[in-house]
C-alpha cells in the first residue's frame, strides 16, 4: 500500500517537472536558455518516472514482485544520470560552434566571446 502511494507520487511529480520543461522550452528566449529547460527538466522527470516504475515492480497492485526488473530500471536511472548532462553539454557546445549568438541579459557578460576575440 505504502509502496503503491510512493510509486504514484514519484510518477506524478515526474509528470509535473515534464510540464515545467515543456513550458520552459517554449517560453525561454534563446537556444541556450531553452537547453536549461530541456536538459534539466528531462533528467529529473525521467529519473522520477523510472524510479516510480521501479518501485511499482517491487510490489505490483496484485502483490507480486519482480526484483530483476527493479534492478534493470535502476541501471536505466544510472545511465540517464550519466548521459543526459553529457548530451546537454554536447548540444550547447555544438550550438556555440555553429555560431548561434546567445542572448545576453542587461547586466550580463559573454566571457567566451570575449576570450575568442583575443589572438
Amino acid at each position: 500500500m505504502i509502496l503503491d502511494i510512493i510509486a504514484i507520487l514519484l510518477i506524478v511529480a515526474g509528470l509535473v517537472f515534464f510540464l515545467g520543461a515543456a513550458v520552459g522550452l517554449v517560453r525561454f528566449p534563446d537556444f541556450y536558455s531553452r537547453m536549461h529547460a530541456a536538459g534539466k527538466g528531462d533528467t529529473l522527470s525521467n529519473l522520477l518516472v523510472v524510479l516510480g516504475f521501479a518501485i511499482h515492480e517491487l510490489r505490483h497492485f496484485d502483490g507480486s514482485a519482480d526484483v530483476i526488473v527493479f534492478c534493470k530500471l535502476l541501471a536505466i536511472c544510472a545511465f540517464i544520470m550519466l548521459t543526459s548532462p553529457t548530451a546537454t553539454h554536447a548540444l550547447m557546445d555544438a550550438g556555440y560552434e555553429d555560431g548561434i549568438e546567445p542572448v545576453i541579459g542587461e547586466d550580463g557578460e559573454n566571457a567566451l566571446a570575449a576570450d575568442r576575440k583575443k589572438p
Binding site: 536549461h36 536538459g39 534539466k40 533528467t43 553539454h89 547586466d107 550580463g108 576570450d115
Partner: protein, 169 residues
C-alpha cells in the same frame, strides 16, 4: 589480482541482472564471458592499480554521499526551472550570461564530474572546457552567483587523501 577478481564480480553481477536466467547453462555462459572479458581487457577499468583497494572503497563511499547531495541539488534546480517557466512575473529574472572560471581540479574524471554537476544544478550549464577554464552559461545573475566553488570543493574532497609515498599515478 584483487582488481581482476573485483572486475570479474562486477561483470558477473551485470550479466546476472541483465539475463535474469539462473539455470546452469546461462550461468556457465556468464562465467565464461565474464572471465574472457576480464582476461583480455581488465586493464581498461581502474587504470591506476597502485591505489589500494581500501582507499578505492572509501572513495566510493564518499562518491555515494556526493551523489545524494547532487540529487538534492537536481531537485532544487528543477523547482527553479519550473517556477521560472510557469510564473509570468519571474520571466524578467531570465538574464542569460556566459561566465568563466578556473578550476583547480587536475584529472579528466574530476573535470568531467564537475562539468556534469554544473549542468545538473540550478540555472547553469557548462558550454566549454579549455584547459582549466570552464565556460558556464547561466540563466540569471542569481544562478551565476551560485558558482561559488562549493561543488568543486566537494569533488576535490572525494579524491583528496594523502597519497601513499611513490603512488603518484
Amino acid at each position: 589480482m584483487l582488481y581482476r577478481l573485483l572486475i570479474f564480480a562486477l561483470l558477473m553481477a551485470t550479466w546476472l541482472v541483465f539475463s535474469g536466467l539462473f539455470d546452469a547453462f546461462h550461468t556457465t555462459l556468464g562465467i565464461l564471458s565474464a572471465a574472457f572479458v576480464t582476461w583480455i581487457s581488465s586493464d581498461l577499468l581502474f587504470a591506476d592499480r597502485k591505489t589500494t583497494l581500501s582507499r578505492r572503497i572509501r572513495q566510493a563511499g564518499r562518491m555515494v554521499h556526493y551523489l545524494l547531495w547532487l540529487l538534492w541539488q537536481v531537485v532544487l534546480s528543477n523547482i527553479d526551472i519550473l517556477r521560472l517557466a510557469l510564473s509570468p512575473s519571474r520571466m524578467k529574472e531570465v538574464q542569460p550570461r556566459i561566465v568563466k572560471f578556473h578550476t583547480g581540479l587536475k584529472s579528466d574524471f574530476e573535470k568531467f564530474m564537475l562539468a556534469n554537476s554544473i549542468t545538473l544544478t540550478p540555472g547553469t550549464i557548462t558550454v566549454k572546457i579549455l584547459g582549466d577554464a570552464f565556460y558556464v552559461h547561466a540563466i540569471s545573475k542569481h544562478a551565476a552567483d551560485g558558482l561559488d566553488g562549493e561543488m568543486e570543493r566537494r569533488i576535490a574532497a572525494i579524491f583528496a587523501e594523502p597519497e601513499p609515498k611513490g603512488a603518484e599515478n
